[in-house]
Symmetry: C2
Subunit: 320 residues, 2 copies
Amino acid sequence: MSNAVSDLPQRVFLHEVAPRDGLQIEPVFVPTDAKVAWIDRLSETGVAKIEIGSFVSPKAVPALADGEEVARRIRRRPGVRYAALIPNVRGAERAAGTGLDEVNVVVSASETHNRANLRMARADSFRQLAEIARVLEGSGVALTSSVATAFGCPFEGPQERAKIFDQAALLIDAGCVGVTLADTTGMANPRQVAETVAAVLRARPEIARGSVQLTLHFHNTRGVGLANVLAAAQAGATRFDAALGGLGGCPFAPGATGNVCTEDVVSMFAEMGVETGVDLGRLIAIARELPDLVGHEVPGQVAKAGRPCDLHPVPTAAAA
Amino acid sequence: MSNAVSDLPQRVFLHEVAPRDGLQIEPVFVPTDAKVAWIDRLSETGVAKIEIGSFVSPKAVPALADGEEVARRIRRRPGVRYAALIPNVRGAERAAGTGLDEVNVVVSASETHNRANLRMARADSFRQLAEIARVLEGSGVALTSSVATAFGCPFEGPQERAKIFDQAALLIDAGCVGVTLADTTGMANPRQVAETVAAVLRARPEIARGSVQLTLHFHNTRGVGLANVLAAAQAGATRFDAALGGLGGCPFAPGATGNVCTEDVVSMFAEMGVETGVDLGRLIAIARELPDLVGHEVPGQVAKAGRPCDLHPVPTAAAA
Protein backbone atom coordinates (compact mmCIF):
# COMPACT_ATOMS: atom_id res chain seq x y z
CA MET A 1 0.00 0.00 0.00
CA SER A 2 1.34 3.39 -0.93
CA ASN A 3 1.39 5.78 1.94
CA ALA A 4 2.85 8.97 3.18
CA VAL A 5 6.03 7.89 4.79
CA SER A 6 7.59 6.11 1.83
CA ASP A 7 8.05 9.48 0.15
CA LEU A 8 9.83 11.37 2.92
CA PRO A 9 13.26 12.81 2.12
CA GLN A 10 16.26 11.56 4.12
CA ARG A 11 17.44 15.04 5.02
CA VAL A 12 15.65 18.35 5.54
CA PHE A 13 16.99 21.83 6.31
CA LEU A 14 15.63 24.25 8.86
CA HIS A 15 15.64 28.02 8.43
CA GLU A 16 15.22 29.81 11.75
CA VAL A 17 13.08 32.92 11.26
CA ALA A 18 12.27 33.85 14.87
CA PRO A 19 14.67 36.83 14.97
CA ARG A 20 12.75 38.37 12.04
CA ASP A 21 9.26 36.93 11.42
CA GLY A 22 9.01 35.94 15.07
CA LEU A 23 9.90 39.28 16.61
CA GLN A 24 8.25 41.41 13.93
CA ILE A 25 4.87 41.69 15.65
CA GLU A 26 6.18 41.65 19.23
CA PRO A 27 5.35 44.83 21.11
CA VAL A 28 8.65 44.71 23.03
CA PHE A 29 12.03 45.65 21.61
CA VAL A 30 14.45 42.85 22.45
CA PRO A 31 17.69 44.73 23.29
CA THR A 32 20.40 44.36 20.67
CA ASP A 33 22.82 42.67 23.08
CA ALA A 34 20.23 40.01 23.93
CA LYS A 35 19.31 39.59 20.26
CA VAL A 36 22.92 39.07 19.21
CA ALA A 37 23.57 36.59 22.04
CA TRP A 38 20.38 34.74 21.11
CA ILE A 39 21.27 34.52 17.41
CA ASP A 40 24.80 33.37 18.32
CA ARG A 41 23.28 30.51 20.31
CA LEU A 42 20.90 29.65 17.46
CA SER A 43 23.97 29.49 15.19
CA GLU A 44 25.24 26.57 17.29
CA THR A 45 22.08 24.44 16.95
CA GLY A 46 22.61 23.15 13.41
CA VAL A 47 19.96 25.17 11.58
CA ALA A 48 20.92 25.79 7.95
CA LYS A 49 19.91 29.43 7.81
CA ILE A 50 18.96 32.23 10.20
CA GLU A 51 16.88 35.23 9.22
CA ILE A 52 18.49 37.71 11.58
CA GLY A 53 16.31 40.77 11.05
CA SER A 54 15.15 43.17 8.41
CA PHE A 55 16.16 46.41 6.74
CA VAL A 56 12.78 48.05 6.82
CA SER A 57 11.97 51.47 8.18
CA PRO A 58 12.50 51.54 11.97
CA LYS A 59 9.23 53.45 12.15
CA ALA A 60 7.33 50.65 10.40
CA VAL A 61 8.81 47.85 12.50
CA PRO A 62 10.42 49.23 15.67
CA ALA A 63 11.17 45.70 16.96
CA LEU A 64 13.67 45.23 14.11
CA ALA A 65 15.21 48.72 14.07
CA ASP A 66 18.68 47.35 14.86
CA GLY A 67 19.18 45.28 11.68
CA GLU A 68 22.60 46.69 10.75
CA GLU A 69 24.00 46.41 14.25
CA VAL A 70 22.77 42.85 14.65
CA ALA A 71 24.23 41.89 11.26
CA ARG A 72 27.57 43.41 12.20
CA ARG A 73 27.83 41.95 15.69
CA ILE A 74 26.67 38.33 15.33
CA ARG A 75 29.29 35.60 15.23
CA ARG A 76 28.91 33.90 11.85
CA ARG A 77 29.29 30.20 11.99
CA PRO A 78 30.64 28.53 8.84
CA GLY A 79 27.96 26.44 7.18
CA VAL A 80 25.12 28.64 8.42
CA ARG A 81 23.64 31.17 5.99
CA TYR A 82 22.59 34.54 7.39
CA ALA A 83 19.68 36.34 5.77
CA ALA A 84 17.60 39.47 6.22
CA LEU A 85 14.31 40.74 4.88
CA ILE A 86 14.41 43.84 2.70
CA PRO A 87 11.40 45.80 1.49
CA ASN A 88 13.00 47.90 -1.26
CA VAL A 89 16.15 49.15 -3.01
CA ARG A 90 17.15 51.23 0.01
CA GLY A 91 16.99 48.06 2.11
CA ALA A 92 19.18 46.25 -0.44
CA GLU A 93 21.79 49.03 -0.25
CA ARG A 94 21.82 48.83 3.55
CA ALA A 95 22.05 45.03 3.47
CA ALA A 96 24.81 44.96 0.83
CA GLY A 97 27.11 46.77 3.23
CA THR A 98 26.65 44.18 5.97
CA GLY A 99 28.03 41.25 3.99
CA LEU A 100 25.06 39.01 4.83
CA ASP A 101 24.78 35.87 2.73
CA GLU A 102 21.39 36.73 1.33
CA VAL A 103 18.41 39.04 1.41
CA ASN A 104 14.78 38.13 0.90
CA VAL A 105 12.13 40.21 -0.86
CA VAL A 106 8.45 39.49 -0.29
CA VAL A 107 5.85 39.83 -3.03
CA SER A 108 2.32 38.60 -2.46
CA ALA A 109 0.49 36.34 -4.88
CA SER A 110 -2.58 38.39 -3.98
CA GLU A 111 -2.78 41.89 -5.42
CA THR A 112 -4.87 43.05 -2.47
CA HIS A 113 -2.46 41.64 0.09
CA ASN A 114 0.52 43.16 -1.71
CA ARG A 115 -1.11 46.59 -1.60
CA ALA A 116 -2.08 46.17 2.07
CA ASN A 117 1.31 44.83 3.10
CA LEU A 118 3.71 46.80 0.88
CA ARG A 119 1.53 49.69 -0.31
CA MET A 120 2.27 49.00 -3.93
CA ALA A 121 0.91 47.02 -6.88
CA ARG A 122 2.47 43.63 -7.62
CA ALA A 123 3.75 44.96 -10.94
CA ASP A 124 5.67 47.65 -9.06
CA SER A 125 7.02 45.05 -6.64
CA PHE A 126 8.38 43.03 -9.57
CA ARG A 127 9.98 46.12 -11.13
CA GLN A 128 11.56 46.89 -7.78
CA LEU A 129 12.81 43.33 -7.48
CA ALA A 130 14.66 43.69 -10.79
CA GLU A 131 16.26 46.90 -9.52
CA ILE A 132 17.25 45.20 -6.26
CA ALA A 133 18.88 42.41 -8.27
CA ARG A 134 20.98 45.04 -10.10
CA VAL A 135 21.99 46.71 -6.80
CA LEU A 136 23.14 43.38 -5.39
CA GLU A 137 25.10 42.35 -8.49
CA GLY A 138 28.70 41.74 -7.53
CA SER A 139 28.03 42.43 -3.82
CA GLY A 140 28.25 38.78 -2.85
CA VAL A 141 24.77 39.02 -1.32
CA ALA A 142 22.39 36.54 -2.92
CA LEU A 143 18.75 37.35 -3.62
CA THR A 144 15.80 35.20 -2.61
CA SER A 145 12.11 35.97 -2.73
CA SER A 146 8.96 34.85 -0.94
CA VAL A 147 5.58 34.36 -2.56
CA ALA A 148 3.37 35.64 0.25
CA THR A 149 -0.24 34.38 0.48
CA ALA A 150 0.74 31.55 -1.88
CA PHE A 151 -1.85 29.26 -0.28
CA GLY A 152 -4.58 31.84 0.26
CA CYS A 153 -5.11 35.54 0.95
CA PRO A 154 -7.06 36.74 4.00
CA PHE A 155 -8.78 39.35 1.79
CA GLU A 156 -9.17 37.57 -1.56
CA GLY A 157 -9.29 33.91 -0.49
CA PRO A 158 -7.75 31.11 -2.59
CA GLN A 159 -5.12 32.04 -5.17
CA GLU A 160 -4.89 30.42 -8.61
CA ARG A 161 -2.02 27.99 -8.77
CA ALA A 162 -1.03 29.43 -12.18
CA LYS A 163 -0.34 32.75 -10.46
CA ILE A 164 2.09 31.03 -8.06
CA PHE A 165 3.87 29.34 -10.97
CA ASP A 166 4.09 32.57 -12.95
CA GLN A 167 5.50 34.41 -9.95
CA ALA A 168 8.03 31.65 -9.22
CA ALA A 169 9.15 31.78 -12.88
CA LEU A 170 9.45 35.54 -12.74
CA LEU A 171 11.49 35.42 -9.52
CA ILE A 172 13.85 32.81 -10.95
CA ASP A 173 14.28 34.83 -14.16
CA ALA A 174 15.06 37.90 -12.02
CA GLY A 175 18.01 36.02 -10.55
CA CYS A 176 16.62 34.70 -7.26
CA VAL A 177 18.58 31.72 -5.97
CA GLY A 178 15.75 30.76 -3.66
CA VAL A 179 11.97 30.91 -3.81
CA THR A 180 9.81 30.55 -0.72
CA LEU A 181 6.14 29.62 -0.89
CA ALA A 182 4.66 31.31 2.16
CA ASP A 183 1.38 30.53 3.86
CA THR A 184 1.39 34.00 5.34
CA THR A 185 -1.79 33.77 7.41
CA GLY A 186 -2.06 30.00 7.88
CA MET A 187 -4.70 29.16 5.26
CA ALA A 188 -2.99 26.15 3.63
CA ASN A 189 -4.13 22.55 3.90
CA PRO A 190 -1.98 19.44 3.40
CA ARG A 191 -3.64 18.33 0.15
CA GLN A 192 -3.12 21.74 -1.42
CA VAL A 193 0.46 21.86 -0.14
CA ALA A 194 1.36 18.41 -1.47
CA GLU A 195 -0.18 19.15 -4.86
CA THR A 196 1.42 22.58 -5.12
CA VAL A 197 4.90 21.38 -4.15
CA ALA A 198 4.72 18.42 -6.54
CA ALA A 199 3.52 20.70 -9.35
CA VAL A 200 6.23 23.30 -8.74
CA LEU A 201 8.92 20.60 -8.74
CA ARG A 202 7.56 19.34 -12.07
CA ALA A 203 7.24 22.83 -13.57
CA ARG A 204 10.59 24.29 -12.54
CA PRO A 205 13.59 22.15 -13.46
CA GLU A 206 15.92 24.66 -11.70
CA ILE A 207 14.20 23.74 -8.43
CA ALA A 208 14.13 19.99 -9.06
CA ARG A 209 17.87 20.18 -9.91
CA GLY A 210 18.58 22.25 -6.80
CA SER A 211 20.08 25.27 -8.55
CA VAL A 212 17.17 27.26 -7.12
CA GLN A 213 16.18 26.36 -3.56
CA LEU A 214 12.51 25.87 -2.76
CA THR A 215 11.53 26.72 0.81
CA LEU A 216 8.14 26.26 2.45
CA HIS A 217 6.98 28.75 5.06
CA PHE A 218 3.97 27.79 7.16
CA HIS A 219 2.09 29.46 9.96
CA ASN A 220 0.20 27.34 12.48
CA THR A 221 -2.72 29.77 12.61
CA ARG A 222 -5.29 26.97 12.25
CA GLY A 223 -3.34 24.19 13.98
CA VAL A 224 -2.36 22.46 10.75
CA GLY A 225 1.19 23.80 10.40
CA LEU A 226 3.08 20.56 11.06
CA ALA A 227 0.66 18.58 8.91
CA ASN A 228 1.51 21.00 6.10
CA VAL A 229 5.24 20.55 6.72
CA LEU A 230 4.72 16.79 6.56
CA ALA A 231 2.70 17.00 3.34
CA ALA A 232 5.32 19.26 1.74
CA ALA A 233 8.14 16.90 2.74
CA GLN A 234 6.22 13.93 1.32
CA ALA A 235 5.91 15.83 -1.95
CA GLY A 236 9.64 16.50 -2.09
CA ALA A 237 10.26 19.78 -0.23
CA THR A 238 13.36 19.76 1.95
CA ARG A 239 13.66 23.33 3.25
CA PHE A 240 11.40 24.83 5.88
CA ASP A 241 11.16 28.16 7.61
CA ALA A 242 10.23 27.85 11.28
CA ALA A 243 10.40 30.05 14.37
CA LEU A 244 11.73 29.04 17.76
CA GLY A 245 8.81 28.62 20.16
CA GLY A 246 6.34 29.17 17.32
CA LEU A 247 6.79 32.93 17.64
CA GLY A 248 5.08 35.12 15.10
CA GLY A 249 1.36 35.44 15.66
CA CYS A 250 -1.05 36.73 13.07
CA PRO A 251 -2.43 40.27 12.94
CA PHE A 252 -5.83 38.89 11.87
CA ALA A 253 -6.15 36.25 14.58
CA PRO A 254 -5.53 37.47 18.11
CA GLY A 255 -4.52 34.51 20.26
CA ALA A 256 -3.63 32.34 17.28
CA THR A 257 -0.19 30.77 17.04
CA GLY A 258 2.53 32.06 14.77
CA ASN A 259 5.07 30.38 12.52
CA VAL A 260 5.44 26.63 12.80
CA CYS A 261 7.63 26.01 15.81
CA THR A 262 11.23 25.04 15.02
CA GLU A 263 11.69 22.60 17.89
CA ASP A 264 8.33 20.95 17.18
CA VAL A 265 9.23 20.55 13.49
CA VAL A 266 12.69 19.21 14.33
CA SER A 267 11.20 16.78 16.86
CA MET A 268 8.68 15.49 14.30
CA PHE A 269 11.38 14.88 11.68
CA ALA A 270 13.81 13.39 14.21
CA GLU A 271 11.16 10.95 15.45
CA MET A 272 10.52 9.88 11.85
CA GLY A 273 14.23 9.28 11.28
CA VAL A 274 14.60 12.23 8.90
CA GLU A 275 17.94 13.97 9.43
CA THR A 276 17.72 17.70 10.23
CA GLY A 277 21.28 18.39 11.33
CA VAL A 278 19.81 20.13 14.39
CA ASP A 279 20.72 19.39 18.00
CA LEU A 280 17.22 19.29 19.45
CA GLY A 281 18.33 19.39 23.08
CA ARG A 282 20.25 22.60 22.44
CA LEU A 283 17.31 24.10 20.58
CA ILE A 284 14.89 23.26 23.41
CA ALA A 285 17.22 24.86 25.97
CA ILE A 286 17.11 28.13 24.01
CA ALA A 287 13.35 27.86 23.45
CA ARG A 288 12.76 27.51 27.18
CA GLU A 289 14.29 30.96 27.71
CA LEU A 290 12.01 32.60 25.13
CA PRO A 291 9.29 33.65 27.59
CA ASP A 292 11.94 35.71 29.41
CA LEU A 293 13.13 37.22 26.14
CA VAL A 294 9.70 38.29 24.82
CA GLY A 295 7.77 38.59 28.07
CA HIS A 296 5.03 36.03 27.45
CA GLU A 297 4.36 32.32 26.98
CA VAL A 298 4.98 30.97 23.48
CA PRO A 299 2.95 28.33 21.61
CA GLY A 300 5.67 25.70 20.98
CA GLN A 301 4.88 22.33 22.56
CA VAL A 302 8.10 20.30 22.68
CA ALA A 303 9.84 22.83 24.93
CA LYS A 304 6.99 22.34 27.42
CA ALA A 305 6.48 18.58 27.06
CA GLY A 306 10.05 17.50 26.38
CA ARG A 307 11.11 15.11 23.64
CA PRO A 308 9.16 11.86 23.31
CA CYS A 309 12.33 10.06 24.46
CA ASP A 310 12.50 12.09 27.70
CA LEU A 311 10.96 9.45 29.96
CA HIS A 312 9.34 10.06 33.35
CA PRO A 313 10.08 8.29 36.63
CA VAL A 314 7.81 5.32 37.31
CA PRO A 315 5.20 6.21 39.94
CA THR A 316 5.60 4.28 43.19
CA ALA A 317 2.26 2.49 42.78
CA ALA A 318 3.37 1.04 39.46
CA ALA A 319 6.87 0.05 40.53
CA ALA A 320 5.59 -2.64 42.91
CA MET B 1 4.74 11.09 -8.22
CA SER B 2 3.13 9.22 -5.38
CA ASN B 3 2.26 11.46 -2.51
CA ALA B 4 0.18 11.76 0.57
CA VAL B 5 -3.05 13.12 -0.70
CA SER B 6 -3.82 10.45 -3.25
CA ASP B 7 -4.46 8.03 -0.38
CA LEU B 8 -6.91 10.08 1.67
CA PRO B 9 -10.33 8.53 2.34
CA GLN B 10 -13.41 10.34 1.02
CA ARG B 11 -15.18 10.30 4.39
CA VAL B 12 -13.96 10.31 7.98
CA PHE B 13 -15.86 10.14 11.28
CA LEU B 14 -15.26 12.26 14.33
CA HIS B 15 -15.69 11.05 17.89
CA GLU B 16 -16.09 13.93 20.33
CA VAL B 17 -14.31 13.08 23.59
CA ALA B 18 -14.24 16.48 25.32
CA PRO B 19 -16.99 15.63 27.84
CA ARG B 20 -14.83 12.72 29.07
CA ASP B 21 -11.15 12.89 28.14
CA GLY B 22 -11.38 16.66 27.92
CA LEU B 23 -12.93 17.33 31.31
CA GLN B 24 -11.16 14.50 33.12
CA ILE B 25 -8.18 16.55 34.28
CA GLU B 26 -10.04 19.85 34.70
CA PRO B 27 -9.93 21.11 38.28
CA VAL B 28 -13.47 22.55 38.00
CA PHE B 29 -16.67 20.51 38.08
CA VAL B 30 -18.82 21.59 35.15
CA PRO B 31 -22.36 21.59 36.59
CA THR B 32 -24.53 18.74 35.28
CA ASP B 33 -27.08 21.12 33.71
CA ALA B 34 -24.35 22.85 31.73
CA LYS B 35 -22.77 19.52 30.78
CA VAL B 36 -26.07 18.14 29.48
CA ALA B 37 -26.84 21.30 27.51
CA TRP B 38 -23.30 21.23 26.06
CA ILE B 39 -23.55 17.59 24.99
CA ASP B 40 -26.99 18.25 23.48
CA ARG B 41 -25.48 20.98 21.35
CA LEU B 42 -22.55 18.73 20.35
CA SER B 43 -25.16 16.15 19.25
CA GLU B 44 -26.36 18.64 16.63
CA THR B 45 -22.93 19.19 15.02
CA GLY B 46 -22.69 15.98 13.00
CA VAL B 47 -20.06 14.13 15.02
CA ALA B 48 -20.49 10.35 14.77
CA LYS B 49 -19.97 9.57 18.45
CA ILE B 50 -19.81 11.41 21.77
CA GLU B 51 -18.00 10.10 24.82
CA ILE B 52 -20.31 11.64 27.42
CA GLY B 53 -18.50 10.75 30.62
CA SER B 54 -17.23 7.85 32.63
CA PHE B 55 -18.38 5.41 35.29
CA VAL B 56 -15.30 5.57 37.43
CA SER B 57 -15.16 6.27 41.13
CA PRO B 58 -16.31 9.85 41.85
CA LYS B 59 -13.40 10.05 44.27
CA ALA B 60 -10.90 9.20 41.53
CA VAL B 61 -12.35 11.65 38.97
CA PRO B 62 -14.61 14.21 40.67
CA ALA B 63 -15.09 16.11 37.38
CA LEU B 64 -16.99 13.12 35.97
CA ALA B 65 -18.96 12.12 39.09
CA ASP B 66 -22.30 12.70 37.36
CA GLY B 67 -21.99 9.99 34.66
CA GLU B 68 -25.38 8.35 35.28
CA GLU B 69 -27.29 11.61 35.45
CA VAL B 70 -25.67 12.92 32.28
CA ALA B 71 -26.41 9.65 30.46
CA ARG B 72 -30.04 9.78 31.57
CA ARG B 73 -30.68 13.44 30.79
CA ILE B 74 -28.99 14.02 27.40
CA ARG B 75 -31.19 14.17 24.30
CA ARG B 76 -30.03 11.32 22.08
CA ARG B 77 -29.93 12.19 18.45
CA PRO B 78 -30.50 9.32 16.02
CA GLY B 79 -27.32 8.51 14.11
CA VAL B 80 -25.03 9.62 16.94
CA ARG B 81 -23.53 6.94 19.17
CA TYR B 82 -23.18 7.72 22.87
CA ALA B 83 -20.31 6.15 24.77
CA ALA B 84 -18.77 6.19 28.22
CA LEU B 85 -15.50 5.07 29.74
CA ILE B 86 -15.67 2.29 32.32
CA PRO B 87 -12.77 1.10 34.47
CA ASN B 88 -14.16 -2.24 35.72
CA VAL B 89 -17.11 -4.62 36.09
CA ARG B 90 -18.86 -2.29 38.52
CA GLY B 91 -18.64 0.46 35.87
CA ALA B 92 -20.11 -1.91 33.29
CA GLU B 93 -23.06 -2.69 35.57
CA ARG B 94 -23.69 1.01 36.10
CA ALA B 95 -23.40 1.74 32.37
CA ALA B 96 -25.66 -1.17 31.34
CA GLY B 97 -28.55 0.45 33.18
CA THR B 98 -28.20 3.72 31.26
CA GLY B 99 -28.83 2.24 27.85
CA LEU B 100 -25.78 3.94 26.31
CA ASP B 101 -24.73 2.62 22.90
CA GLU B 102 -21.30 1.53 24.02
CA VAL B 103 -18.71 1.51 26.77
CA ASN B 104 -14.97 1.71 26.38
CA VAL B 105 -12.36 -0.09 28.50
CA VAL B 106 -8.77 1.12 28.50
CA VAL B 107 -5.83 -1.26 28.73
CA SER B 108 -2.30 0.03 28.23
CA ALA B 109 0.19 -1.58 25.89
CA SER B 110 2.76 -0.74 28.55
CA GLU B 111 2.74 -2.87 31.70
CA THR B 112 4.14 0.03 33.71
CA HIS B 113 1.55 2.49 32.44
CA ASN B 114 -1.27 0.02 33.08
CA ARG B 115 -0.14 -0.38 36.69
CA ALA B 116 0.24 3.38 37.15
CA ASN B 117 -3.07 4.22 35.49
CA LEU B 118 -5.30 1.32 36.59
CA ARG B 119 -3.37 -0.16 39.51
CA MET B 120 -3.40 -3.64 38.04
CA ALA B 121 -1.31 -5.87 35.79
CA ARG B 122 -2.26 -6.06 32.10
CA ALA B 123 -3.13 -9.74 32.54
CA ASP B 124 -5.68 -8.74 35.19
CA SER B 125 -7.06 -6.03 32.91
CA PHE B 126 -7.63 -8.61 30.17
CA ARG B 127 -9.34 -11.01 32.61
CA GLN B 128 -11.55 -8.14 33.73
CA LEU B 129 -12.35 -7.24 30.14
CA ALA B 130 -13.67 -10.79 29.56
CA GLU B 131 -15.86 -10.45 32.65
CA ILE B 132 -17.15 -7.07 31.45
CA ALA B 133 -18.03 -8.63 28.09
CA ARG B 134 -20.13 -11.25 29.96
CA VAL B 135 -21.89 -8.56 32.04
CA LEU B 136 -22.79 -6.63 28.89
CA GLU B 137 -24.09 -9.68 26.99
CA GLY B 138 -27.69 -9.07 25.99
CA SER B 139 -27.71 -5.57 27.49
CA GLY B 140 -27.59 -3.87 24.09
CA VAL B 141 -24.48 -1.98 25.20
CA ALA B 142 -21.56 -2.66 22.86
CA LEU B 143 -18.00 -3.03 24.11
CA THR B 144 -14.99 -1.19 22.70
CA SER B 145 -11.46 -0.97 24.02
CA SER B 146 -8.53 1.40 23.80
CA VAL B 147 -4.90 0.40 23.57
CA ALA B 148 -3.38 3.14 25.71
CA THR B 149 0.28 4.13 25.13
CA ALA B 150 0.08 2.33 21.76
CA PHE B 151 2.66 4.70 20.30
CA GLY B 152 4.90 5.02 23.34
CA CYS B 153 4.82 4.98 27.14
CA PRO B 154 6.04 7.94 29.20
CA PHE B 155 7.76 5.47 31.59
CA GLU B 156 8.93 2.66 29.28
CA GLY B 157 9.35 4.48 25.97
CA PRO B 158 8.56 2.86 22.61
CA GLN B 159 6.29 -0.20 22.59
CA GLU B 160 6.85 -3.23 20.33
CA ARG B 161 4.38 -3.22 17.47
CA ALA B 162 3.79 -6.97 18.04
CA LYS B 163 2.39 -6.11 21.47
CA ILE B 164 -0.15 -3.75 19.87
CA PHE B 165 -1.18 -6.45 17.38
CA ASP B 166 -1.51 -9.08 20.12
CA GLN B 167 -3.60 -6.76 22.23
CA ALA B 168 -5.84 -5.82 19.29
CA ALA B 169 -6.37 -9.52 18.52
CA LEU B 170 -7.17 -10.24 22.15
CA LEU B 171 -9.68 -7.37 22.31
CA ILE B 172 -11.41 -8.50 19.12
CA ASP B 173 -11.56 -12.09 20.39
CA ALA B 174 -13.07 -10.79 23.64
CA GLY B 175 -15.94 -9.35 21.63
CA CYS B 176 -14.96 -5.70 21.20
CA VAL B 177 -16.70 -4.07 18.24
CA GLY B 178 -14.19 -1.26 18.22
CA VAL B 179 -10.48 -0.93 18.96
CA THR B 180 -8.83 2.43 19.55
CA LEU B 181 -5.10 2.96 19.20
CA ALA B 182 -4.38 5.74 21.66
CA ASP B 183 -1.35 8.00 21.78
CA THR B 184 -2.06 8.69 25.43
CA THR B 185 0.72 11.17 26.12
CA GLY B 186 1.43 12.45 22.62
CA MET B 187 4.54 10.47 21.72
CA ALA B 188 3.54 9.29 18.22
CA ASN B 189 5.09 10.47 14.98
CA PRO B 190 3.50 10.38 11.51
CA ARG B 191 5.80 7.69 10.08
CA GLN B 192 5.09 5.36 13.01
CA VAL B 193 1.36 6.10 12.78
CA ALA B 194 1.16 5.42 9.04
CA GLU B 195 3.14 2.20 9.36
CA THR B 196 1.15 0.99 12.37
CA VAL B 197 -2.25 1.72 10.83
CA ALA B 198 -1.28 0.08 7.53
CA ALA B 199 0.05 -2.97 9.39
CA VAL B 200 -3.05 -3.31 11.59
CA LEU B 201 -5.31 -3.09 8.53
CA ARG B 202 -3.25 -5.86 6.89
CA ALA B 203 -3.18 -8.01 10.03
CA ARG B 204 -6.82 -7.81 11.10
CA PRO B 205 -9.34 -8.63 8.38
CA GLU B 206 -12.21 -7.76 10.77
CA ILE B 207 -10.95 -4.18 10.77
CA ALA B 208 -10.28 -3.98 7.04
CA ARG B 209 -13.82 -5.36 6.43
CA GLY B 210 -15.31 -2.87 8.91
CA SER B 211 -16.90 -5.39 11.27
CA VAL B 212 -14.53 -4.06 13.94
CA GLN B 213 -14.03 -0.29 13.90
CA LEU B 214 -10.51 1.11 14.18
CA THR B 215 -10.25 4.51 15.86
CA LEU B 216 -7.15 6.65 16.27
CA HIS B 217 -6.78 8.80 19.37
CA PHE B 218 -4.06 11.43 19.34
CA HIS B 219 -2.92 14.04 21.80
CA ASN B 220 -1.20 17.18 20.54
CA THR B 221 1.31 17.17 23.39
CA ARG B 222 4.25 17.76 21.03
CA GLY B 223 2.43 19.77 18.36
CA VAL B 224 2.26 16.89 15.91
CA GLY B 225 -1.34 15.78 16.55
CA LEU B 226 -2.86 16.87 13.25
CA ALA B 227 0.11 15.54 11.30
CA ASN B 228 -0.57 12.18 12.96
CA VAL B 229 -4.26 12.38 12.04
CA LEU B 230 -3.22 13.10 8.45
CA ALA B 231 -0.75 10.21 8.37
CA ALA B 232 -3.36 7.84 9.82
CA ALA B 233 -5.95 8.92 7.26
CA GLN B 234 -3.44 8.46 4.44
CA ALA B 235 -2.85 4.91 5.69
CA GLY B 236 -6.58 4.13 5.69
CA ALA B 237 -7.92 5.15 9.13
CA THR B 238 -11.31 6.86 9.02
CA ARG B 239 -12.29 7.31 12.69
CA PHE B 240 -10.71 9.83 15.01
CA ASP B 241 -11.20 10.83 18.61
CA ALA B 242 -10.86 14.57 19.16
CA ALA B 243 -11.82 17.05 21.85
CA LEU B 244 -13.54 20.38 21.31
CA GLY B 245 -11.03 23.18 21.84
CA GLY B 246 -8.23 20.65 22.23
CA LEU B 247 -9.23 20.10 25.86
CA GLY B 248 -7.41 17.41 27.76
CA GLY B 249 -3.94 18.37 28.81
CA CYS B 250 -1.32 15.93 29.93
CA PRO B 251 -0.41 15.23 33.55
CA PHE B 252 3.27 14.94 32.58
CA ALA B 253 3.49 18.17 30.61
CA PRO B 254 2.15 21.25 32.37
CA GLY B 255 1.18 23.82 29.76
CA ALA B 256 1.09 21.28 26.93
CA THR B 257 -2.03 20.93 24.80
CA GLY B 258 -4.49 18.07 25.17
CA ASN B 259 -6.37 15.91 22.69
CA VAL B 260 -6.27 16.93 19.06
CA CYS B 261 -8.82 19.70 18.67
CA THR B 262 -12.08 18.66 16.99
CA GLU B 263 -12.71 21.88 15.11
CA ASP B 264 -9.06 22.01 13.92
CA VAL B 265 -9.27 18.40 12.68
CA VAL B 266 -12.63 19.04 10.97
CA SER B 267 -11.25 22.20 9.36
CA MET B 268 -8.21 20.34 8.04
CA PHE B 269 -10.32 17.58 6.49
CA ALA B 270 -12.92 20.03 5.14
CA GLU B 271 -10.20 22.10 3.46
CA MET B 272 -8.85 18.93 1.82
CA GLY B 273 -12.30 18.01 0.52
CA VAL B 274 -12.66 15.03 2.86
CA GLU B 275 -16.25 14.72 4.09
CA THR B 276 -16.66 14.72 7.90
CA GLY B 277 -20.42 15.16 8.21
CA VAL B 278 -19.71 17.94 10.71
CA ASP B 279 -21.10 21.48 10.54
CA LEU B 280 -17.90 23.39 11.28
CA GLY B 281 -19.61 26.72 11.90
CA ARG B 282 -21.79 25.16 14.59
CA LEU B 283 -18.80 23.43 16.16
CA ILE B 284 -16.81 26.68 16.27
CA ALA B 285 -19.71 28.49 17.95
CA ILE B 286 -19.71 25.90 20.75
CA ALA B 287 -15.91 25.92 20.99
CA ARG B 288 -15.91 29.70 21.46
CA GLU B 289 -17.94 29.27 24.66
CA LEU B 290 -15.51 26.73 26.12
CA PRO B 291 -13.39 29.24 28.05
CA ASP B 292 -16.56 30.20 29.96
CA LEU B 293 -17.38 26.55 30.61
CA VAL B 294 -13.97 25.50 31.94
CA GLY B 295 -12.64 28.82 33.19
CA HIS B 296 -9.53 29.17 31.01
CA GLU B 297 -8.32 29.59 27.45
CA VAL B 298 -8.16 26.40 25.38
CA PRO B 299 -5.52 25.43 22.79
CA GLY B 300 -7.73 25.04 19.69
CA GLN B 301 -6.77 27.37 16.85
CA VAL B 302 -9.66 27.50 14.38
CA ALA B 303 -12.07 28.91 16.98
CA LYS B 304 -9.61 31.81 17.45
CA ALA B 305 -8.55 32.33 13.84
CA GLY B 306 -11.79 31.43 12.05
CA ARG B 307 -12.04 29.15 9.04
CA PRO B 308 -9.66 29.79 6.15
CA CYS B 309 -12.71 30.87 4.11
CA ASP B 310 -13.68 33.55 6.67
CA LEU B 311 -12.18 36.51 4.81
CA HIS B 312 -11.25 39.86 6.30
CA PRO B 313 -12.26 43.33 5.10
CA VAL B 314 -9.76 44.91 2.73
CA PRO B 315 -7.75 47.63 4.52
CA THR B 316 -8.40 51.14 3.19
CA ALA B 317 -4.84 51.55 1.96
CA ALA B 318 -5.18 48.53 -0.29
CA ALA B 319 -8.63 49.29 -1.60
CA ALA B 320 -7.44 52.37 -3.46
